[in-house]
């Protein structure tokens, strides 16, 4: 059963004030940060979203958490519609999802001690019957931090430790879904592994579903079941992680794979270098939005946007998918 | 950029209108008949009646405000209750004295303060820097009227280097300049300190930025790094501050004009209060407020124009 189901989601931002739009004669002073996005997350599974900066991946996460309004589409959590929730329903929703933020130290309130930080969800949701001290110890133990850490302030933590505190807080209310935005950003490779192992362990122990956002494809394959590749707010390819790695269909996916070289000087690399840079959301390219950088572009690509196609659970948005 | 200009000027006009409304309500908030208050001790029933007529006191409040604005727009700020001359004439007659005082002070302060700040920033933590730092703080904190009193006491009364009172003979430029020195010094002194501290701080901040490290890493001569790469960025905040500084200088000018018995807006307000000549008081406050809004608006526009990042984003 799926915990989260997102259908045809669209998130828009205003880029010009009404006055500016009027003066510049712009009838549509909005940009689409997320467009036509559909996916679902199964219970106890991990869904990973991969995209470069500006692809709209964090926006999508915020929209799912309803920290940003969505313009169109539906977000269903355990069958109930998130976009139309009342305030009290929303409180209940917030109890069942939790977020891990990009900046491990910056997402912790600087003047609070770790002990109060990780038990804050209990206070916010009025769960006063719990023994907060004991809960704090339990959570710290769960993420592998010694109990005396509850007396520390965020700035006294290393990146990896702060990240663990973030995981502890995310686990406090035993959520159904954890949304993790770049869980390994800013961490050294030796620490990256620790955090990914922790996330895997948490999932194995508690059966929680995860929605992970990252720009690093290498991180994805060891933690996720399903993966989507996002570009300019749209999914270009989505499917089971193993399939995606073994047989990428979209040229962008295979370029991303090639862009993460392994540390082997003799490795034979199928180099697929992309031209240019990500275009601005302010002027989306016509047709297939990837055509400006695609090494295999054809005239057809510039005319119309390809639909998501493919077999079973593996879909891609390309007229000329890479053959096996 | 055009949109920004329109917006910023529009905001300025809006602020002036709000300020006028606020002044208008201040008169009405005070208990009693506004006409009687405005007329002060000379209020005869006939005068009150004609004043009420002029202000439209018999009409509803919104209409009164509109009338107030309409009069203002025509440059009519009412009549002086004592001489019965138009307030506008009186106020604009005094304006040049205040303007010349303020501009002299701010230009002088900028000419001394900015190089001083640069020097301190470049020779950071040297003895000269520390001494300048302490002196600057002392200058900033010295209230303008105290400086005015001391300069009057020392340079005019005891040493007799400069004239003590007035603004000098009309037409005699040298005399006018001599009369300008002490008052301008009195209100400019704290700005020398303030600007030097400001320039020093923003200079040090800019010097710590990555692109300065880049410029040095490419071996650019230090002179070029400081004066072309750092100073251009470091003076940006000064422009804004000088605009806001006009308001402080207008305030400080009140004291100095009184201490040196120099004609100007501040002296005018002070004298009008003692004769309860309220229309003149309100007119002067209004004009100085407009002056202040104009100067902050201009400095914001200059600032936006100087910084290519802002210029492009507007």
């Amino acid at each position: 059963m799926s915990v989260l189901e997102v259908n045809d989601l669209r998130v828009r931002f205003r880029v010009q004030s009404p006055l500016q739009a009027l003066v510049r004669g712009n009838a549509d002073p909005f940009i689409d940060a997320v467009r036509q996005v559909s996916f679902s997350i199964e219970e106890g599974k991990t869904f990973t979203l991969v995209g470069e900066s500006g692809s709209g991946k964090s926006t999508l996460a915020l929209a799912v958490a309803r920290l940003l309004p969505s313009a169109e589409g539906s977000i269903k959590f355990n069958g109930s519609e998130v976009t139309s929730m009342s305030d009290s329903e929303l409180m209940d929703y917030r109890k069942q999802i939790s977020m891990m933020w990009q900046n491990p130290v910056g997402s912790l309130s600087p003047r609070m001690k770790v002990g109060s930080l990780i038990t804050e969800p209990y206070k916010i949701h009025g769960l006063n019957d719990r023994d907060r001290k004991a809960e704090g110890r339990r959570l710290l133990e769960m993420v592998g931090l010694p109990a005396h850490f509850s007396q520390r302030y965020p700035h006294q933590l290393s990146g990896g430790q702060a990240r663990r505190v973030g995981v502890a807080r995310a686990l406090a209310l035993s959520p159904k879904l954890i949304i993790a935005d770049e869980p390994t950003a800013g961490l050294d490779v030796s620490v990256q592994g620790e955090i990914l192992n922790l996330l895997n362990k948490v999932q194995d122990d508690l059966g929680v579903s995860m929605f992970v956002i990252t720009h690093n494809l290498n991180v994805v394959r060891h933690i996720s079941d399903h993966t989507a590749i996002m570009y300019l707010g749209r999914f270009l390819e989505i499917g089971p992680t193993d399939t995606l790695f073994a047989e990428p269909k979209h040229p962008y996916t295979s370029a991303l794979l090639a862009a993460n070289p392994e540390p082997d000087p003799d490795a034979l690399r199928e180099q697929l270098e992309l031209k240019g840079e990500v275009p601005s959301l302010l002027n989306r390219p016509s047709g297939c939005e990837f055509h400006t950088r695609c090494p295999f572009v054809q005239s057809q690509c510039k005319d119309a946007l390809p639909e998501l196609a493919g077999e079973e659970s593996h879909h891609y948005r390309c007229y000329f998918p890479i053959a096996e | 950029m055009l949109i920004y200009c329109i917006k910023r000027i529009g905001l300025g006009i809006l602020i002036v209108m709000l300020a006028v409304t606020l002044l208008f309500f201040m008169i009405h908030l005070v208990p009693g008949d506004p006409a009687r208050i405005l007329l002060g001790p000379r209020a005869t029933p006939e005068l009150i009646a004609s004043m009420s007529q002029q202000l439209g006191l018999d009409k509803p409040l919104p209409i009164q405000i509109l009338m107030f604005f309409a009069n203002l727009f025509r440059g009519d700020m009412g009549m002086d209750v004592i001489t019965n001359r138009p307030v506008a004439d009186i106020v604009f007659g005094q304006l040049p004295y205040t303007l010349s005082l303020i501009l002299t002070a701010i230009i002088g302060a900028a000419l001394i303060g900015i190089p001083l700040g640069c020097y301190s920033a470049i020779n950071r933590n040297s003895l000269a820097d520390r001494v300048t730092g302490i002196l600057s703080v002392a200058c900033i904190t010295a209230p303008a009227f105290v400086v005015a009193l001391y300069s009057l006491l020392i340079f005019a009364v005891y040493l007799k280097w400069f004239p003590a009172v007035g603004a000098g003979e009309k037409g005699d430029f040298g005399d006018q300049v001599a009369h300008l020195v002490l008052p301008a010094f009195a209100i400019g002194l704290s700005w020398v300190g303030y600007l030097s501290r400001l320039v020093r701080a923003s200079m040090l901040e800019v010097m710590g930025e990555n692109h300065i490290r880049t410029a040095r890493a490419y071996g650019l001569p230090e002179r070029l790094v400081v004066f072309r790469y750092a100073l251009k960025l470091a003076v940006l905040p000064t422009v804004t501050v000088i605009g806001v500084g006009m308001g402080f200088l207008l305030s400080a000018a009140v004291f100095t004009e009184i201490v040196f018995a120099r004609p100007g807006l501040g002296k005018l307000i002070f004298d009008s209060i003692s004769t309860r000549n309220y229309p003149v008081v309100m007119g002067s406050v209004l004009v100085s407020t407009i002056l202040f809004v104009i100067s902050t608006t201009i400095s914001d526009l200059i600032n936006a124009w100087l910084d290519p990042r802002i210029r492009a984003s507007l």
Binding site: N103, G106, S107 | L11, L153, L250, F255, I269, I273, V281
Partner: protein, 278 residues
């Protein structure tokens, strides 16, 4: 706290500031004990004297002891400064947080209001107000409160806006924390530090404004002693004796210096980022 005092003592200017401020506060609080004379008692025989052991700072044109008047004047100045700054601080914090955290339109309205108040040159505004309602101690307080609110409000708003964009506020929102909780638990503690420093550096400005208004006869009503009115007496007597000017200005200058040095020292202590640039 103890460490803070230690650090200030390590900074010579901060130490001087602390000493001057302590001196001012003590002499103001103990004015009635220290003062050798009644500050408003007339003594025409001893008028216009220079400093002597009998009258440490001399006497004014009515023969009142200037040293005693300076002590009590300090009391008045400190009282006005503390009362008005506390009131302005409270209102400024509330308005600033509302502007920074609330909806855009409310922010615009509050900022427009702040800009309008700031567009009056302070002293001109004060004179206009005094002209309408008459000079008194409470008028001075009201004027200072009104003109200071925008300063604090703007600082709080800027801080709120920058803190609001931090991830930890987003994190609180995502956990479902109420606006009140975010404002009181997460914003306020991070805003007050810089604000207190700003306020402490504002005390000299306020004292100078009070003295200035009293100097013009638009502040505290005579015969209440005020540094400003002592200076006014001195101005009128400037061709006869310099002593009232000196007596009125020395405490004023020392106190403004004291609070500024202390404030800068505190700022460097609390905000290491600023320390780097000073």
């Amino acid at each position: 706290m103890l460490q803070a005092i230690k650090r200030i003592c390590g900074d010579p200017l901060g130490l001087v500031g602390l000493f001057l401020v302590a001196l001012m506060v003590l002499s103001a609080v103990l004015a009635s004990v220290i003062a050798p004379y009644d500050p408003i008692a007339l003594n025409i025989i001893d008028r216009l004297q220079g400093p002597s052991f009998k009258h440490l700072l001399g006497t004014d044109q009515l023969g009142r002891d200037l040293f005693s008047r300076v002590l009590f004047g300090g009391q008045v100045a400190l009282k006005i400064a503390l009362i008005s700054i506390s009131i302005a601080l409270c209102i400024g914090v509330v308005l600033g947080m509302i502007a920074g955290f609330g909806p855009r339109w409310l922010d615009n309205i509050i900022m427009l209001l702040f800009d309008t108040i700031r567009s009056f040159p302070t002293v001109m505004f004060a004179l206009a107000t005094v002209a309408l309602v008459g000079p008194s101690l409470s008028t001075v307080v009201v004027i200072i409160v009104i003109t200071s609110i925008p300063t604090y409000g703007r600082v709080v708003r800027t801080q709120t806006l920058s803190i609001k964009s931090n991830e930890y506020i987003q994190a609180e929102l995502a956990m479902g924390a109420s606006t009140f909780r975010i404002l009181s638990m997460h914003l306020l503690p991070n805003v007050v530090g810089p604000l207190f420093i700003l306020a402490s550096m504002d005390i000299p400005t306020v004292i100078a404004l009070e003295a200035g208004l009293s100097f013009l006869g638009m502040g505290v009503k005579p015969p209440t002693p005020s540094w400003g009115s002592i200076l006014n007496d001195g101005y009128n007597l400037i061709r006869n004796t310099p002593w009232p000017i000196i007596a009125g200005s020395i405490p004023l200058v020392l106190v403004t210096l004291g609070f500024t040095f202390l404030g800068e020292s505190l700022r460097d202590l609390i905000d290491p980022k600023l320390r780097k640039s000073l």
